[in-house]
């Protein structure tokens, strides 16, 4: 769902979507592939986002993703951390079933 994204000082943007086949959350990496770990997401400056989204939007069917949009993140040591609770839940899993948390190691590819 599209929400207005405000980017605060020190924050960047990453692009996200759901995978068509299983609905899993994916993040756009620097090599323009979709990855399941937010650590692999490329952090963009706002000016770069529109063009990048247009690019992936046109390949969405071939890439098997739906609902592409951008979210604000704070770059942190372990990787980008979304600013809003909603996106933190998307990135790290539901807060109420700890056993369903997403694994955080590098390299969990799509």
């Amino acid at each position: 769902m599209k929400r207005a994204v405000r980017v605060g000082a020190g924050e960047g943007l990453v692009i996200t979507a759901n995978r068509l086949l299983d609905g899993a959350i994916v993040w756009l990496s620097a090599d323009h592939t979709w990855q399941t770990a937010i650590q692999r997401a490329e952090v963009l400056v706002p000016e770069a986002v529109v063009e990048r989204i247009e690019g992936v939007q046109s390949r969405a069917q071939a890439d098997g993703v739906v609902g592409i949009y951008e979210i604000a993140v704070r770059p942190e040591v372990g990787g980008p951390v979304p600013v809003t609770m909603r996106e933190r839940i998307r990135a790290f899993g539901p807060t109420v079933h700890p056993q369903f948390a997403y694994e955080q190691q590098e390299g969990a590819g799509a």
């Binding site: 769902m1 759901n18 068509l20 086949l21 299983d22 609905g23 899993a24 959350i25 069917q61 739906v66 609902g67 600013v83 809003t84 609770m85 909603r86 839940i89 998307r90 899993g93 539901p94 807060t95 109420v96 079933h97 369903f100």
Partner: protein, 557 residues
């Protein structure tokens, strides 16, 4: 398979139909995957099969028509939970069950697995006539006048792939009850139907229209006091035809029938319906006694035999075991037949997720229903499960079987019996998480003695204005709002969903999660101070007004 108690028995025609419907859906999935359907085109088609795309995965909502299940169906849910989900199912406030971790690819297989036990996900979402809900005590309650499930089944069939009403302005929800004590929230539905016996022995129906929660909570208004059975379908067709032609399609928040009923006024809406009826070919819509009888014949009734002295055995066991006795006080309801009792299983174990069940618990519920409840169980709009017909001398064993799997919480109708939507942990539309605050409240009031002392108090929590947790109808309602990325909760007091249905009033500014829990604790303390005699929370609220509670809620903030 032997004829199931309390639900319509499928025949080969029904099974062939379901198989064809699943085939249709698998083709739609294939067309989506190969790109011949766009997401915008596919979405309404998958929604009509109960498939949502949520935060983390697809969510499949399976229909439980009028809330009645048999043991094999519950085992099939356990199977789906294990094989295709993460070991859980989630009962909703519309008597359905949801699976939160589903893959699109797997859905046709899941639907086939469910079809093997005569279950489907048809019309559990989308802008069509949704799964019809009914009274969880149907056919069992001492206060019932008409068993509403036969007519609920007729409505289910009539609304299935309805050619005219599958692309309505918005979703359309119908509930039907046969008891003067409304347990289906009839006045909070697009159409609420209350059945009662008419003078000629046939059933007549009181019909409410235009109720609903969501962004604009409205209590439904009576359109007709007594529609004869023969005219039931004609009347519903006319009501929905007016809505389909004139309901707003420009703004999804104004698209429900309630907005149209408000805009026209109930009298003018009735005139519109009359104008349709006057032109309709009424014979075509006639619901004849033969049609009703042919459906009724597919429902088996339990043979309610009880050994002499069943009631005495129960009384003795209650006297011997005070924990059991407490559970009986809160979790049972009078049965129409002597020696039987209705048992409600709370899915609100303190600290757990309201409405969640594990696959193992589902299996246990299925087994217990076979041993103690004629193989039948029901889901409730308060996210609990009901065994409709239990012999009083077997209640103790049933209860022990529940306790063993952590389903013995003695809190039905009490403050711990919290209704909550999935909220931000799962739902793509949410503003705030509903489950953690429900868990915190459950833990805060976990003391069962305190709960009994507080008495009837219903808390409802929704993670956003769509009101899936019915917060407006809760005695205390909580609505999650987003304040600059922070989760806040707005409190309402005085809502109720019964025959005196009312929309709760907003108490004051929204508070953060922990402050909300504290505020509710203070509201409850204040109620215990203010209450006179055995007054319920709602009665005290009515007598003293909201001021003392407002003062208590915002006391230290």
């Amino acid at each position: 398979m032997t004829t199931a108690i309390g639900q319509y028995q499928y025949d080969q025609v029904d099974r062939d139909f379901l198989a064809a419907r699943i085939e249709e859906f698998s083709e739609q999935v294939a067309r989506r995957l190969d790109g011949s359907l766009t997401e915008d085109e596919f979405k309404p088609l998958r929604l009509m099969n109960g498939l949502y795309l949520q935060l983390h995965a697809y969510m499949l909502r399976v229909a439980v028509p009028y809330g009645t299940l048999n043991a094999a169906q519950v085992r099939a849910f356990a199977d789906v939970a294990r094989r295709y989900d993460r070991g859980y199912g989630h009962f909703t406030t519309r008597q359905n069950i949801q699976f939160n971790w589903i893959r699109l690819e797997d859905t046709p297989d899941i639907l086939r697995l469910l079809a093997d036990v005569d279950m489907h996900a048809l019309q559990t979402s989308g802008n069509c006539i949704r799964n019809v809900t009914s009274d969880e005590f149907a056919g069992a309650a001492a206060d019932e006048l008409v068993d509403p499930r036969v007519h609920a089944e007729i409505l289910r069939q009539w609304s299935t792939l309805h050619p005219e009403f599958t692309f309505l302005p918005r979703k359309f929800k119908i509930a039907i009850s046969g008891s003067p004590n409304d347990r289906v929230a009839a006045r909070f539905h697009d159409i609420g139907v209350i059945a009662r016996p008419g003078d000629d022995g046939r059933v007549v129906f009181q019909i409410f229209v235009g109720g609903g929660l969501g962004r604009t909570p409205i209590v439904g208004q009576e359109l007709y006091d007594s529609v004869p059975e023969e005219r039931l379908l004609a009347t519903l067709e006319a009501i929905i035809r007016v809505y389909n032609a004139h309901g707003r399609r420009d703004n999804i928040y104004k698209a429900r029938i309630k907005i149209l009923v408000q805009a026209l006024g109930i009298a003018a809406y009735r005139e519109e319906v009359e104008a349709e009826l006057a032109q309709m070919d009424i014979a075509r819509y006639r619901l004849s006694p033969e049609m009703v009888a042919s459906i009724e014949a597919r429902f088996a009734a339990p043979d309610l035999q009880v050994p002499a002295g069943a009631a005495d055995i129960l009384a003795e066991q209650r006297a011997r075991d005070w924990v059991f006795d407490r559970w009986v006080r809160s979790n049972t309801h009078a049965h129409r037949s002597e020696g039987h009792i209705i048992a409600v299983v709370s899915l609100k174990t303190p600290g757990e997720i309201p409405g969640d069940v594990t696959a193992d618990q589902l299996d246990r519920l299925a087994g217990l229903s076979e041993r103690f409840a004629y193989g039948e169980l029901r889901t409730t709009h308060l996210q609990n499960v009901v065994f409709g017909h239990v012999r009083q001398d077997q209640l103790y064993d049933l209860w022990r079987g529940l306790v063993e799997v952590g389903l013995g919480a003695p809190n039905v109708g009490l403050i711990g019996d919290i209704v909550a939507c999935p909220g931000l942990d799962y739902c793509a539309l949410a503003n705030a998480r509903s489950i953690p605050i429900a868990q915190k409240l459950g833990a805060r009031f976990a003391d069962m003695t305190l709960q009994e002392q507080i008495g009837a108090l219903q808390i409802n929590i929704s993670g956003c204005i769509n009101a899936c947790g019915h917060h407006h109808a809760g005695h205390i309602g909580l609505l999650g709002v987003d304040k600059r990325g922070e989760e806040f909760f707005q409190m309402t007091l005085g809502g109720r969903a019964d025959d005196q249905a009312a929309v709760g009033k907003i108490l004051g500014p929204a508070l953060p999660e922990d402050d909300t829990v504290d505020a509710i604790a203070r509201i409850v303390d204040r109620y215990l101070q203010e209450r006179s005699g055995k007054e319920s929370f709602l009665e005290t609220l009515k007598r003293v007004g909201e001021a003392p509670f407002k003062e208590a809620a915002y006391d230290t903030v």
